[in-house]
């Protein structure tokens, strides 16, 4: 053995130690925040990720984005569990089930990892932050108000027969919105009659077929409300190909990228949503506050968002804001 060998070994070790010491403060400062969406491969959560990345840049967070390939609770729990084992600073989900994450919340908190939920909430005691896109009631009401407005514009009065096309028949958020929509119809628009509610899953072809059949089953249908992202373009396509454009009002909850062709060709005038990029950004900001040990105020100024954000201390919920109407004027928004 050369007599330099041990010197070399020490030099390498020393160098590594020095490098680690120097980088340690940088590591300590940057938090790693994991976000597990309901599923990957859909534009909605990609938009949320965009917002979180923006917050990551602004507030020096390392964002990990990982999720199941279908909206599956078991897969999602597995991913959360393995991320907790990897030792992140904060972990959050857009939950596929409000109740399935109890053990995960416990596990995270035991390891001093911040647990949060966003978009679709987790009902568990240790959940430290909920970030809610919009008040469900406000959204449901807004969609029906837009529908009534459109019916008035095309038929002269807020009346007629309408149908709902939804996604999964067990999806909690969709069913909550439907509940509030029905309530609004009953309270404010007694002359608009809901004749049918059908479910097409997260599949635009199924939504197209179902709407086509609805149009045939109710030849005097005046309006269709799509409850999820795929239902609205599916309904619009069916209305377009059956030559009912202008006769049947189509509106609902969907994003600009998905509905753009139909807004451009006039089959759809208005849809309702919130801004998922802002939702992701707000989530990133909120998590950073908790990691820094700061408290939320009832009304918060968030750098980078143009309106103030309400916080409900009782439910630990940050609320993004009122629903947003998308029409020709802002259809170029990219999410």
């Amino acid at each position: 053995m050369s007599r330099f060998a041990s010197c070399k070994r020490w030099a390498v070790l020393g160098g590594t130690a020095l490098a680690l010491t120097l980088s340690a403060p940088v590591w300590a400062k940057q938090y790693t925040v994991a976000f597990v969406p309901k599923l990957v491969g859909i534009p909605y959560f990609a938009a949320m990720k965009k917002g979180m990345d923006k917050a990551g840049k602004q507030f020096d967070l390392k964002v990990i984005y990982q999720g199941p390939s279908s909206a599956d609770v078991a897969q999602q729990v597995n991913i959360v569990s393995s991320l907790i084992n990897q030792g992140v600073d904060a972990i959050g989900v857009a939950a596929n089930s409000p109740t399935a994450f109890g053990p995960m919340v416990k596990k995270a908190r035991a390891k001093h990892i911040v647990f949060y939920s966003t978009d679709s909430q987790v009902e568990a005691k240790g959940n430290q932050l909920r970030v809610s896109q919009v008040n469900d009631k406000a959204l449901g009401y807004k969609v029906i108000d837009v529908l009534a407005e459109e019916l008035k514009a095309s038929k002269g009065a807020a009346k007629g027969k309408i149908a709902f096309v939804s996604g999964g028949s067990t999806a909690t958020n969709l069913n909550t919105w439907i509940k509030f929509m029905k309530q609004r119809l009953k309270d404010k628009y007694p002359n608009i009659k809901l004749v049918d509610v059908q479910y097409g899953g997260e599949d635009v072809t199924k939504a197209t077929n179902i709407t086509n059949q609805l149009i045939s089953a109710y030849p005097d249908l005046d309006g269709i409300v799509g409850i999820n992202t795929t239902a609205v373009p599916g309904a619009a396509q069916a209305v377009l190909t059956s030559g009912k454009k202008g006769q049947i009002v189509v509106t609902g909850i969907t994003d600009p990228n998905t509905i753009r062709p139909y807004v451009m060709n006039g089959t759809v005038n208005k849809v309702v949503l919130w801004n998922p990029v802002d939702l992701g950004y707000l989530t990133g900001w909120g998590v950073k506050q908790i990691l820094d040990g700061k408290q939320f105020k009832p009304v918060n100024e968030v750098p980078g968002l143009d309106h103030k954000i309400k916080y409900d201390a009782k439910t630990k919920t940050l609320l993004l804001g009122p629903p947003m109407v998308i029409d020709k004027s802002n259809i170029q928004l990219d999410f």
């Binding site: 990609a46 049918d196 599949d203 072809t205 030849p219 377009l240 060709n265």
Partner: protein
Amino acid sequence: MASTASTGSRWPSWINISARELLLIIGVIVITAGISIGSHGNFWNDSNLTNLMINTAITLVPAIGMTVIILTGGIDVSVGSMLGLVAVAGGTAFEHGVGLAAATPVFLVAGAILGFVNGALITYGRVPPVIATLGTLSVYRAAAFIFLGNHWITMIPPSVTQAMVLTQPLGIPIAVWIALVLIALCMVFLARLPRGRHIFAIGNNENAARLNGIPVERIKLAAYTLTGVLVGVAALMSLGHSPMVQTTTGTGFELTVIAAVVLGGTELTGGRGSLLGTLLGAILVGLVQNGVVLLHIQPFWSGVVLGVIILVSVGSATVRRAAD
């Protein structure tokens, strides 16, 4: 060989109606009447008939290839993922501003490549068809996920819908004409040309066919590739019908296609079956899927009804054979 006895000489020989097909025709008539009455005649609305025809055509076109594959004793369970991946390829072409005429070859070639891979795995790779296509079912779907990422293709030009669905010579959409021409050609091919008869021979006894000098591997490879091309055609039709590509586009479609073929009387053991049966099977599947909303029931019931029809019809055929 074709299991059927001709019911008369008035028909050209490539149309060969068996008792089973007569039963299917009766089934179609009964279900049509049922939906028609149950929907107070709304079934006959123009837009509903168009929708029914388009959906049937989208199922029928790959079902033609599937019939040929099943006749050789094989199966392809990957067509759903294939449709998805082909739609991703074609949709991407559309996104880059390619027009309908120039994009059509993209659909056909992409389909041919994917079908060829299936065929090569089965013939030269000696992987059993179910296993090979189960593998590609999952690989093709994953490829669609990887390629598309978090994006859906929504910018499909309106000319696709215009060409496939809204242009209707004699009241029948172009997509349906394409399906009808394809099935007529393939019926003539199966019944009249030696190669067509070879397909039945392979399904009946592959070794005997090989000993007789029939190029078994080449024919099988061609059958899977043909199915790929037909899936490409169906993908284009399907974008005309609902112009958006999701990562999940086509999921579960393989079951609809196989259901149409099996319902049509083609036997999974190979060697027995007919394209006329497949046509009727596809219509029956289309009717059942079409009827549910018209009858004001929830769509998942169509799955139940379809399942029961398949069990009863295939089960009764097996029982009948056992009794003979």
